[in-house]
Each structure stands twice: as structure tokens, then as C-alpha cells.
Amino acid sequence: MATPAEKITGFEPRITAFVCNWCTYTGADLAGTSRLQMSPNVRIIRLPCTGRIDPLFILKAFERGADGVIVSGCHPADCHYTSGNYHARRRFAVLKELLEFVGVESGRVTFSWVSASEGQKWREVVNGATERVRELGPFDAYRALAGSRP
């Protein structure tokens, strides 16, 4: 399902980023205000905390056509709600292994900690995830599950 732009330029990965409000969103904002150039393939969804990210969000992103997903929040010990990221870390550890077990390539889901001062690191995360997904190509296997539906 190529967009008009993709028909001209080829495959452009669509990546959904679930980020926490306090660290990574602010870090991404810093990257923007610092005028850092990075790949434009990432759509950010801001949530209060990585602890708010239900693994079903990530599946839903794939269902709606994402080729890759980034999940990012505060470094350990930095959580605005004290322990949300620690809980999320356990959940993501299990999720990551399960997704690999059912056959989702590991490069499609990127987990990272990016603090409010790490605009540079956010750029690396975004560029890295985009490159990995670009190499893997469009997630046609997941889209094919829907049959002819978009």
C-alpha cells in the first residue's frame, strides 16, 4: 500500500514511537528546537509514562500499518512516577521475547531510554530504528493478515 510519495521515492518506513511525556518527549522536543536533522519516518505518540504502554498498543500499531515501533522513556531511577519504567521494563522484556517467538523480526521493535537532555541520543535512536526497518522492508507479513482490508 504505497503512498503517492513512495511510488516515486521507493519504500519509506512508517514507525510509531510511544514515548513518555517527561523524558523522551522532552528529549525529542530538544532535538527539534536544537534543529537536529533526523529521518522523518517516526510518528510520536505521547503518553504519561512507559508504564502506561500496554503491549497491545504495539500490536495495534502494526495492525494499523506501522513497519516498526519505538518505545522510549525515562532512564531507570528517573521515572516521574518513581517506578513506572521499572514495571515497563519487565513487561517489555517478556513482550520482546514473545514477539520474536511468534516470528516478528527483532529489528522492528526498538526499546530505549532517552532523557530530556538527550536530544542527540533521540536522533540516534530514530535514525537507527529507521535504518533497521528500512533493511527489513515493509511489514507486509502483518498487513497480509488483514486480507484485502487496509
Partner: protein, 290 residues
């Protein structure tokens, strides 16, 4: 067997419990039984056909059973883990139930079969079982049995899957999940699926498509496996109940292995052990996080 029937009769007669949940002889092998009359306690049986995990009937989402009054439940060692799980997750209070433990020497994969226990007929989870005597029990009955036969093929199968490429694994699971008719038998039979309202039943927003369709099937089985991570007691009921023979035990076993390896937790029958998803350590491994 006599010992079990006598104990059930006594508990019912002296009013300690109102119902004894056990197994009885049915038209197609053994089946779950709910004995409320002390004179009928001789219906109860226990042998290698008693595969069913009766802890499912303790779940608070079965009010028609809780209305019967205080239950005594007959459990094997593996089932006792589910009772402990329900207590651990505040679904049940220990003093609200009486636990009758039976010593077990392995059960048949199919409770309707009349064949003796052998390496071919034994349930896969029984090989190398470490929980053949429930520690949680108030009363422990039956004699000690020899170790169950069989080697258990699941870990080898998981190893084979892990050795495949991601595309091959995807193909394997798509072929398996394509048979799913979304009857929810795996959920209904599971003692640890105790949510009053399942995420799969929610429609606004609908997280998991409810029709038997490849996309919804994948979402359901991934969500189920995740919710069972650190919760599954490996009683094998989901796989036995599945009319489409989907190897759900592989997903559960994989999750159990991840939880044990990462968080050092193995499902046991100690209700005081904290559930691994729900607690954390400051130094949990995070090699997968950039």
C-alpha cells in the same frame, strides 16, 4: 480412593464445607463433580485420568459456584499452583477454602481414554514434574506414586522453533493460529484467567478483533500469552480444551522459561511468593534497551 471419599464425607457431614469439588466417573471417562450431600461422597474418584484442573471452579468470576458455599477442592500438585496463584492475586482468601491434595504419578493427556499411563499417553507436562505432592494442602491423601513416564517434547520443540528464522516461525504460528475459531475455550478453562471483563471482549476501543480472523487471532494469542507470563501454572488445560489443537502449551512454556531465566521465578504453590510481573528489581537485565 476410600481415603478421599471418607475425608469428603466427613468434611460435608460436619459442616466444614458445603461442597466438595472433585472428579467422578462419567459417560466418557472421568469428569468434574460437585458433591454437596455427604452420602454421595462415594462418587469421588482419583486416578491417572483426572487431568482437569479443578481450581478453575474457584475463580470469583463463577458466582454460580461460589453461591454453593465454602468449597473443598481436590487438587494435584500442579493444580495447587493455580490455587496459590488465585490467593497470590487476591482472588481468593486461603481460609475461604479447604484444599485436599492428592499425590499424583502423572495424568493422561486425554481423560476420556481408557489406556494405561505410558510414555505415549501421558500429558506432556508430567515428565520430570517436581510438584507431585501439593504443599498447600490442608489434607494430603493417597499413596506416593512412581515418577511419571515420558520425556516431555515441548522444550525440544521450542528449541527447534528458536533455531528457525523469524519468517519460518511466523509461518509456523500463522498456520497454527489459522485454525483458531475464537471459541474462547482456552480462556474459560484457565484457572488464572480471572478478569471480570476480558480485554478481548472490549469493543470501545476494540483492542482485539473478535472474529476468527488472522489479525485478531494473532492479537488474542499474543495478549493471552503475555497475560499468562508469570501467572500460568502449566496445568495444560488450555491446550486440552482447544478444539483446534493449537499448541498453546508451547507459548505458555516459552513465557515460563523467559520469566524463570530473567526474573528467577517459577510458578509454585507458595501464595506468598510475589507475582513476577507486578514487582521489579532495580537491576533487572536491560540488554535489549538502547
Amino acid at each position: 480412593m476410600r481415603e478421599l471419599q471418607e475425608l469428603a464425607r466427613k468434611l460435608l457431614a460436619d459442616g466444614t464445607v458445603k461442597v466438595v469439588i472433585g472428579w467422578e466417573e462419567g459417560p466418557h471417562g472421568v469428569r468434574p463433580a460437585f458433591v454437596v450431600d455427604p452420602d454421595r461422597a462415594d462418587r469421588l474418584v482419583f486416578d491417572e485420568r483426572c487431568t482437569h484442573n479443578l481450581a478453575s471452579y474457584l475463580s470469583p468470576r463463577r458466582p454460580h459456584l461460589t453461591r454453593l458455599g465454602k468449597p473443598a477442592v481436590v487438587v494435584k500438585g500442579c493444580d495447587a499452583r493455580a490455587v496459590a496463584g488465585l490467593i497470590r492475586e487476591s482472588q481468593l482468601k486461603r481460609e475461604e477454602i479447604v484444599v485436599i491434595g492428592v499425590r499424583c504419578g502423572g495424568v493422561l493427556a486425554d481423560p476420556s481414554t481408557a489406556e494405561p499411563l505410558s510414555a505415549e499417553t501421558v500429558a506432556d507436562r508430567c515428565a520430570g514434574c517436581q510438584a507431585r505432592e501439593p504443599h498447600l494442602a490442608d489434607h494430603l491423601v493417597g499413596e506416593a506414586h512412581p515418577e511419571p513416564p515420558g520425556k516431555g517434547g515441548r522444550d525440544a520443540r521450542i528449541g527447534e522453533l528458536e533455531a528457525m528464522t523469524a519468517q519460518e516461525r511466523w509461518g509456523f504460528w500463522q498456520a497454527e493460529l489459522a485454525r483458531c475459531v475464537r471459541c474462547n475455550a482456552c480462556r474459560e478453562v484457565c484457572p488464572m484467567c480471572f478478569c471480570e471483563r476480558c480485554v478481548a471482549d472490549k469493543t470501545q476501543p476494540q483492542w482485539i478483533e473478535s472474529s476468527p480472523h488472522a489479525r485478531g487471532n494473532l492479537a488474542w494469542h499474543v495478549a493471552r500469552a503475555l497475560h499468562q507470563a508469570g501467572r500460568c501454572v502449566d496445568c495444560g488445560e488450555c491446550e486440552r480444551a482447544c478444539p483446534a489443537d493449537i499448541p498453546l502449551g508451547l507459548l505458555n512454556r516459552k513465557m515460563a522459561r523467559v520469566v524463570e531465566q530473567r526474573f528467577g521465578y517459577r510458578a509454585g504453590d507458595d501464595p506468598a511468593a510475589p507475582a513476577p510481573i507486578g514487582v521489579f528489581k532495580l537491576d533487572d537485565a536491560q540488554e535489549f534497551i538502547l
